[in-house]
Amino acid sequence: MKTRKSLPSGIVMLIVAACLIAVCAPLILWIRHAAAMDSASFMETCQTIVHRIAHPFPIDPDHMGAVLLTILMLLLLAIAVVLVIVAVINLLRGPRDEQSRHMGLRTANAISNTAIHILLVVISVIWLLPFIFIVLQSFRVESTYQVGYIIPEKWGFDNYVSIFSAGSNFPRWYLNTFIMALATAVLQTVIVLCMSYTLSRFRFKMRKPLMKFMLVLGMFPGILGMIILYRILSDLGLTQAHAVPGLILVYVASSGMGYYVSKGFFDTIPKSLDEAARVDGATRAQVLFKIILPLSKPIVIYTILTAFMAPWGDFVFAKYASMNNQLGMNVAVGMNTWLATPSMLFANYTKFCAGGVVVAIPVVILFMCLQRYYVEGVTGGAVKG
């Protein structure tokens, strides 16, 4: 009983300590920042904190940071206060009869739940801010350069129209990336699942050494092989304008080594299901496609998503393989050329934001479509537990 009582308050105290540290750090930064300002501008900053977030109002980027830090600090402070109250309630709660202790627990639970939710909301706000920022900037039409406010003065689709207009290479890059991501997603998923099934279900000579070998091989960064890979691709004529098939080859080539997660999942599916299916007349392939894969939906979805995302966001190797040839670039590399010099940054900043939004669309759709298959607990009732 003693441990049950002391444990929650211990955790609460820990969270409070963490929050206080989190609050103190920006506070110190803020004080240092405020000390550097003269008193008039400091007063102005304080008076217009809330006003400035909601209204388009040019402030210099330094002040913008101070405002955001203040909001963050206040929120964390609020959480810390709530948690302190919870901790005090926990500590003050003495021995009582069953009924009232039950009530006390319920109150404490409600308070800590609220505190945790507030914390999560804050984290998600911090997490979402850049995305909201980019979306809003992409609709800004009054200027094309970086500004110190979030909400546009004039809204419009000019940026979107310009990236898809004639003469823009963006559709080409987009198509390149899409082809690469789709091909990689399909091929890599097939290879990874076959590999995982093989390693999970078959026992063959050198199985363990092979797994160890791949584990060690996986410890080397893939970028180490970049130069030699480029040579091979260029000998095959798969660089620059023809970089797309070459890049697909590179992305898919090592996919067999990503078997860990799905093999671990397959290992949890009882082997007697395979055996029952084989006795029922299924071939190994039918066992995989009719029994194992329907039971492994979450892991198949995970494999597809990761296989799609890697080429979608790749920059380093894609830049290297395309070698400044606009026809062989993917979106990340291509859009990067928009911001190559300060003057281009001045001209293309909002266009870049619009491109970013367009790039995010397929991934968002993919997540939304696949997420609903992501249900767990499908193996219930297979075998006697």
């Binding site: 055996e275 084989r278 007349g281 075998v383």
Partner: protein, 375 residues
Amino acid sequence: MASVKLTNVKKIYDNKVVAVHDFNLDIKDKEFVVFVGPSGCGKSTTLRMVAGLEEISEGTVEIDGEVVNDLQPKDRNIAMVFQNYALYPHMTVYDNIAFSLRLQKLPEDVIYNKVTNAAEILGITDYLMRKPRALSGGQRQRVAIGRAMVRDSKVFLMDEPLSNLDAKLRNQMRAEIILLRQKLNTTFIYVTHDQTEAMTLGDRIVIMKDGYIMQVGTPTEVFEMPENLFVAEFIGAPKMNIMHTELSCENGKYYVHPFGARLPVEGDKGAKLNELRVPGKQIILGVRPEHIQLAKEAGPNTIPVKLEVNEMMGSELHLHVYTEDGTRLIVRVPTIDLDPEQRNSLVQGAALNITFGGKVMHFFDKETEHNILLP
């Protein structure tokens, strides 16, 4: 419907562990054979070799005269029920049962007829649209049996199908398997560790230990004429009482001397001993608990014992007794044979006298543990 023949079948695992030694067995068409033995005796391994789920290290397995060593399970035309049911959790009961038929690409109406027919026999018609997770253990087991039933296979294999069920359900399902067997009329191989199941279900029982066959025979044979001490102890519940004693021969009549008593060997057994001219020697004597009686009073052919535990089983009492030298014996007394006064006197520490007849003794060699009457 087919015969199964195992010739010199051996299973050696990669780590050089020999699971099955030289297994020879001829299973006739439509026979119900039970493999029974303690865990780790190789019975499941043997069954899985017949199914094709384990590779056969040496020897051959024939189904209907065809060597199937290198055939995949799907090509052996067998059906199997697993201990843990192994139902496909993402399919409904109907789809589970229809799975093998769909793989055979049968038309849907044929599948429908077969599945509903099997469901009716097993009494699971109401659950056909449920997922396995929504079924109880007994229902799941029925589905597993149904899945095997619809295949019309040559051999029906069952790997401890009842061991996950509770005692009551197990008895019920055992009776249903007997009925099912009559309906299917095919060759069965059934693996169990439960000697009751083996005795009640099997036409023939194969008793195994450490990868060796100890005895093959009908339930009556293995019960009445166990080939060795292991079979004698394994078959029958409670297990056979074992006494180290002397067998002596006087003028062609044989006697045993357990714990100072002198009991004559009578009937067939005495005649058999005579015929084999067995010399007087130290032996292991086995007597089943139900063949020991309580004697009214001490005499030259009774053994004095003390009562340790009295288990009331309802229709009978299991008396756990120990002799002067500490040997523990079990005596099984029908409740109806005891008058109330006698029953009340059976308390811990009570002194009793036991005896047994000369027709029910089993004699085993002290070294080989082989039945002396079966040379």
